[in-house]
Amino acid sequence: MSMGMFLVISLVAPWLSGLTMWGLFRNNPKKSGILSTLVSSGILLSALSLFQRVYSGNASYEVHGFFTGSILLSVTPVGYAFIILTSLVWLAASVFSIVYMQKSHYQGRFYLFFMITLGSTLGVFVSGDMIAFFTFFEIMSLASFMLVIHEQDRDALEAGKLYIFMSIFGSLMALMGLFMIYHHTGTLRIDELHGVLKTMGVSGYVAYFLITLGLGVKAGIVPFHVWLPKAHPVAPSPASAVLSGILLKTGIYGIFLASYVLLGVDASIGKVVAVLGAVTMIMGAGCAVKSRNFKVLLAYSSMSQMGYVVLALGTAAALEDAGLLGYTGGIYQAINHGLYEAMLFLIAGYVYLIRGTIDFNGLSGIIRKDRIAGVFLLTGLAAISGLPGLNGFIGKTLIHDALLEAYHNSHHLLFWGLEKAFILGSSLTSAYCFRIADAMRGGEENKEQDLPGITGARTLVYASFALLTGGIVYTGLFSDSVVSLLKPGLQSLHGHMPDIYSASALLSPIKAYIIGFVLYMIARSGLEGKIERRSKEVDIFERISQTVLHMTGKKLFDEKSVKKPYVLFMHRIRSSTSIIHRLYDLIKVAMMTVVRIIGAFFVVMDRGFSFESNIYNPVIKGVYRFLSRLFGCVDKGVDFFYTFFTSFLTGIYHRDEEENEDENKETLIIRERAVLYKKYRIIVREIAHGHFLEAGRMVRGYFREKEYSMSNLNVGVIIFAAMVVVFMLIFVMYVPMLSNGAAVF
């Protein structure tokens, strides 16, 4: 097949078919789904027939007349692997969508943007220069935004807003890096850019970090991951599958290009990236163990898997010329993740179809009710947790060996630590797999009937699972063929391929399973204990206060008597002199600010970053108020600044909150959160006014009503906080390296 033909099929056909679906089959989602299936299978076949051309090295095509010059489209071996993966996952998601989308709304729009996303994602992988890469990346971000907000409920719109702002923020960062490269070289063709960042001095490193972090937004790297656990669960399942399975890979592909092609090899930068990956891996897995529902768990799991990949890419860069193992492992793991995560998201969609929920209790008894789907789910879990024989095992073994090799080569303490972190990450991965498996147990008590309407179409659902399972098993059993496929793309490197089924390699998943089981048991007992405690209504604050009060057999003082002398005293202070007055105000506001910042930190850790509800109100308002008191400004000025900066964030989607009487579950959860949030602010105010007793009572109520805040705080957050500290230390140590060019480590 000629390259031009392939480009027409992969880049133009999705757009045309998408417009057809939107124009003609708007009221017939079934036809759209079938057309989408046909297009993606056509792309898969044409990609497969491009094999010879890719490996003989003449798969490039130049389009003239764009962007005041020409753009180059070419298929490299690594990009080729991603193209095959993309078309396979899209095929499965399309097959599944035939069943799934019948119950949804606005199918025409969904399929239009589903296909545009397909076309632009393939464009990212075939682009031969960075400007084409950036263009397709941008189209993809905008088109996938429409998939994220498809449900158009409150959560989806919130998540979509976060997603679009963060995507564009990231791509602007990347664009700044591209500007620097283009200014230096005058070209952005990838084949002319090998090792270009090394020739740019310090600005090369700056450009590298801009590109890596900018594209890291898309890949869900830690400081920029916050959109991911929000956006993936709210999309319809076929869209979640491709968002998680494929779109994250575009970020990974960009980081690969930045590391391998643009930067070449650089040990010190590699270490920073590896640490970033390790933090992502552990934090994602830790949050997954304690997540609220099945799809959120899968989203966190995606994030954790991207951490594996970035860890591998960083290690490979750190290994310098011997980095073959690391790059192979990273890309292998990216492919694996695309296959099993997409399947798990599709299964989540299937569970939603038959049970009407994405909570864990929707999974209970699934293996009894539907053995085939249960087996597919177990296969996915086995693959993700690294069971030998399936693909996850291969990827993890390659990454683990790369880490060991890096430690062996450099005897650097960092790699020892990273290797241990890798084991912890694998254990946490198996822990959340245990959590899903645990939720699948039971079924006797679950008397709910399956929802009707799916029975006729199960074959299609199973076909979509089977496609991906085929991929999982193939990449698990024939790892050599995949590795040899990737090798020509990494020609400048060398390194030995390890024996994958060696004894030590077989031992490590067992280790991970055992530690993971223990971790899960701890987490589970925490969860159950919390539920029991809640049911017993044990009230520590109440009990202590009662004990104190009743020691003399009567109430010593009621609330009024507590309040009165205090108020009188404060009134006297306030009215005495202006200095004391000011001092008092200052102390009060300082205390309030500190409490607010700490509170906001925990709230952010707990719920992720959300513009209007979390950060802005407590922190910025507190800080402004504090500063204004400090400098003796009036409050009106504060309010002006505060409104000035936040007016664009609030009130965009919140206006008709009262009008909306849609009492579905999401709304209830949000209302609940809003109530809790208000309580939290009241507590802060009470503390600030010195009413500690009331505040204590409210704190108790706050945590009792908000049980999940504790559940997320114990594993994920503490590990994350520790890792962030480690990461910052390392980063600080690297700053002199950036200016001197000499590695500290």
Binding site: F66, F67, F648, R655
Partner: protein, 480 residues
């Protein structure tokens, strides 16, 4: 013949303005036809002039005591002017239907067109001053058009500031003649430098016209009270006339002050940065669409000033290309704002919620223009941003690249929410009434908007002639 064409381009709208005022008293349709014919004639004339210029005919000529000059830079301004004017006049036929004083409106519209085209073809400071005054004072009538009290206030503000700018410019022109004894652009740049006072006078005068930040205060008021068909011209063209003046000032009138590392370059750069950031930040807080667009114009004029002041080839290409890109984007955005007001009586941004169901084509155009404003590839806004960014790196000042990208991010914050709210309102999810219920604009209003948007897309994707023109113009300017 060569001399006749530019002259005709300026004179035809001028005469047509007088004729149309008379024609309006006789027959409405005759007037409309005359106005359209005049602006279309100017457009065709400019197009044929561009062909001649691209083939290399650059010349200066003197008629009736006035010096005219035809080169790439002047045809760029003339092209965007005549295009946007033609579109605005087509748009006006429906938009101004049934509103007060149509004859006065069309006559002053054509007079302003003649003034702007005159600025484009002026060959010396005196001619620049004459046409500049024509392009500054006549819009007073247009801003005043609705006769509301806000319109009176805004128009007075505009008039006072324009007159101050005009006096200062007159001072500069007189001093130029006194020092150089000629006003010809091709000779005044060389030799003895102008006094600093003249430079400052020119700077303030062009700054007022271009809406650069300390001197911008007329702009948001005037843009938001005037009819939308006028605000699209004010924002698309007349502020660019000020920017055109800046190019003339920096590269022709007093290049001695703008050498490398001169303090005046830094002054211009900082004016640009402050305009960009302040315009963007203030636009975020706006509640009415036209005020938001007006502040966005201030920020975009900062882009152009930045490109001029960077003193690099690619920076100036970006600035000249932004003449084209910004007038198309902002012209269509103002037309959309006017259309929404005209059809639905919506002026507040938050009322855009759900508008995509009723006016899908208009809102699609809004979305494309917004994307282009942000600088997404495939739209012209990206091309100008690309060249401006490279220009700032060429100048060795990556700080300004950061400013550009930060301002793009701010653009996202204020341009996207109306588009998102328009197409995805929260309350129409499970509601079949949420389906499309078309209530689109009249074709005569829709076609100009769509034509401008088509220009935005064409300019972003294809290797277009505007870029060729801009780089040729830059080469000619930079040679000096």
């Amino acid at each position: 013949m060569e001399n006749m064409l530019p002259l005709a381009i300026i004179v035809v709208p001028f005469i047509a303005a007088l004729l149309s005022f008379a024609a309006g008293k006789i027959d409405k349709r005759m007037r409309d036809g005359l106005v359209f014919a005049a602006s279309a004639g100017a457009f065709v004339g400019v197009i044929s002039l561009i062909r001649m210029v691209l083939q290399g005919s650059i010349y200066t000529f003197k008629t009736y005591g006035l010096l005219f000059r035809v080169d790439e830079m002047s045809v760029i301004l003339a092209f965007v002017t005549s295009t946007l004017w033609l579109m605005s006049i087509v748009y006006s036929t429906k938009y101004m239907e049934g509103k007060n004083n149509p004859d006065r409106y069309y006559a002053s519209l054509l007079l302003t067109l003649a003034g702007c085209l005159g600025v484009a073809f002026s060959g010396g400071v005196m001619e620049l001053f004459i046409f500049f005054e024509m392009a500054s004072l006549v819009p007073y009538v247009l801003i005043l058009h609705s006769h509301s009290s806000q319109a009176h206030k805004a128009a007075s503000k505009y008039l006072y500031m324009s007159i101050v700018g005009g006096f200062l410019m007159f001072y500069g022109v007189v001093v130029t003649y006194w020092v150089k004894e000629t006003g010809d652009f091709s000779v005044i740049g060389s030799g003895e430098a102008l006094p600093v006072t003249a430079l400052v006078a020119f700077l303030i005068s062009f700054g007022i016209k271009g809406g650069i930040v300390p001197l911008h205060s007329w702009l948001p008021d005037a843009h938001s009270v005037s009819p939308s068909s006028v605000s699209c011209l004010l924002s698309g063209i007349t502020v660019k006339v000020g920017m055109f003046g800046f190019i003339k000032l920096v590269y022709y009138i007093s290049p001695a002050y703008f050498s490398e590392n001169s303090v005046w370059v830094d002054v211009l750069l900082w004016m640009a940065v402050i305009s960009i950031m302040l315009g963007s930040i203030v636009a975020i807080g706006q509640k009415r669409i036209k005020r938001m667009l007006a502040y966005s114009t201030i920020s975009q004029m900062g882009y152009i000033l930045l490109g001029i002041a960077l003193m690099t080839h690619r920076g100036l290409v970006g600035a000249l290309y932004h003449f084209f890109a910004h007038s198309l984007m902002k012209g269509s955005l103002f037309m959309i704002a006017g259309a929404v007001k005209h059809k639905k009586d919506i002026v507040y941004l938050e009322d855009f919620r759900g508008l995509g169901r009723e006016m899908p084509i208009t809102m699609m155009c809004y979305t494309v223009a917004a994307l282009s404003m942000v600088g997404i590839p495939l739209f012209s806004g990206f091309t100008s941003k690309w060249y401006l960014g490279l220009g700032s790196l060429d100048a060795g000042k990556p700080f300004y690249l950061g400013v550009l990208l930060l301002s793009s991010l701010l653009n996202v914050i204020y341009f996207f929410p109306p588009a998102i709210n328009a197409f995805f309102p929260k309350d129409t999810v499970h509601n079949k009434k949420g389906a499309l219920r078309m209530d689109e604009l009249h074709p005569l209003m829709l076609v100009p908007i769509m034509a401008l948007i088509a220009g935005v897309i064409y300019g972003g994707i294809f290797d277009n002639f505007m870029l060729e023109l801009a780089s040729k113009a830059t080469a000619r300017i930079m040679i000096r």
